[in-house]
Amino acid sequence: MSEENKPPGAAPEDQPEQKKSGAPAAPAGGGEAKAAQPKPPAAKKPPAKKLPSYEELTDDPLLKDLRGRFPNGIVSGQSFLGQPIYTTALELLGDVMLYLRGSEWAFDYLVDLTCLDYLGDPKRLCMVYHLYSHKSGRLIRIKARAAADEMVPSMSTIWRTADWLEREAFDMYGVEFSGHPDLRRILLPEDWVGYPLRKDYDIKLQDQAWIRKHLRIRKVPE
């Protein structure tokens, strides 16, 4: 077995650095300790043109409500280009989501569920949820940081949309969802090894053992 066959995530250090660094300045703050610091990217802006940047939400009723209800749950509330982002603690993510759906905010539509990988960060995975309310017409983004081996609460009981979307996140990032009814790979074959959208999975990496077994193609030596 060649080096290509290593399960990614096992040893991120010895992977060659790609064109861009694996861990960019994490925008939405991971964990409570990080969120308290000011954003590093906002400081080094060129003065010529004012570029869009993360702004702290100041007068947001939803943030106030959430902060009041979940004093330990909400890490930060920001907005970027007018799209509000609420970062929650992973432990209270399920409760916050249940509240957002059930309360008068009525975020009844899960637009999208995906994941980001900040390689090198202790909480490397960042769950991203886009919620929409058909009642008020608001679109918000919820984020929660998780370590690679942490369980993320499944949203499939709150929105049925989440079923396949979580399977996709599991398939591509290896996020384990607790409480998901049927967590298996969806796009890749079931016995594939590795999570391709993680940053330490090189674009040319393939599960060679799988390919040899099922397609009977041997890799052409370069």
């Binding site: 925008p27 990217p41 940047s53 017409g137 049925r160 796009l187």
Partner: protein, 370 residues
Amino acid sequence: MDEPTILDAQELEINMGPQHPATHGVLRVKLKLDGERVLDADCVIGYLHRGVEKISENRTYTKCLPYYDRTDYIAAVSNALGYVLGVEKLMEIEVPERAVTVRIMMTEFNRIASHLLWLATHALDIGALTVFLYCFREREEILKLFENLFGARLTTHAFRIGGLWMDLPPGFEEAARKFIDEFPARVDEYEQLLTNNRIWIDRTKGIGVISGEEAIDYGLSGPPLRGSGVPYDLRRSRPYGGYDQYEFDVPVGLNGDTYDRYLIRMEEMRQSRRIIQQTLDRLPGGPIRGKVPRIIKPPVGEYYSGIEGPRGELGYYIVSDGSAFPFRVRIRPPTFINLQALKRLVKGHLVADVIAIIGTLDVVLGEIDR
């Protein structure tokens, strides 16, 4: 007596697809049947997975664009629009008025072309062959327009960040006007063949019924959601790319069945034609490309750009880390999420209706698998 054999089984599990002409690509549905009645369905997808999201992370912002044509290859123009709008927002690029207008015009042409293909194949699946031929005739006219403007028929590489590749070719406006003048009569023809056709009604009415509330719960978007009476059209609900300046109606259904979704798409074609009429009437002159830096390097940030594709809400969630390569481009695929409801929609129906329901969801496997 002896052990039960396959002949004794009440429930039968069969595969529909992946090589099945009515699954519109390589969709495999594992059906659990009791006689002819469907008890359960499980979709197996991923046969067309090419990792477009991974590819995008390894290409510059400009180079990503041709790949998105190949996700939803029926609606390549819409795909391009969603992405360029997102990047332009991140970069704060001003797009000239002419480019904005042409973009809307071409996206609506694409919507018509996509709905025509849907109608053609959906009717073909159910058994109406004639409609297929007529729809492809009109679709051909649109593809010719694409070829003249973009230089390709299917994988158009339609828009560039900041505007368009080239201006409209000579004779384009006349050809477009000719098409939209003839088009309403053509839609009437399709309707003459189908809308009151007894066979069509019997095959589609009351098939795959879903209520509005449930449709929202399943995250449906586009015609499947509007067919259940939820007036959610991103061109109205969250206007993007200049759509707020155009007049059009958002048709919604009453019953949430296959027949309603059919009527909605027919009406949407007429509404798209109305939008194209308005774009042609107001088409301003001027440049077609705004000021774009040579190297596209958006600042650190993220943006979700959702548009109303022909199949539903098509979203691009673009995360930038300040480099020339996107940190993440997440495509919110409308049919991936719509297909999820197949399991629920086919329950209790007959095998022949499964085909009608797959057709009414208007799946494109290139987008589902990405």
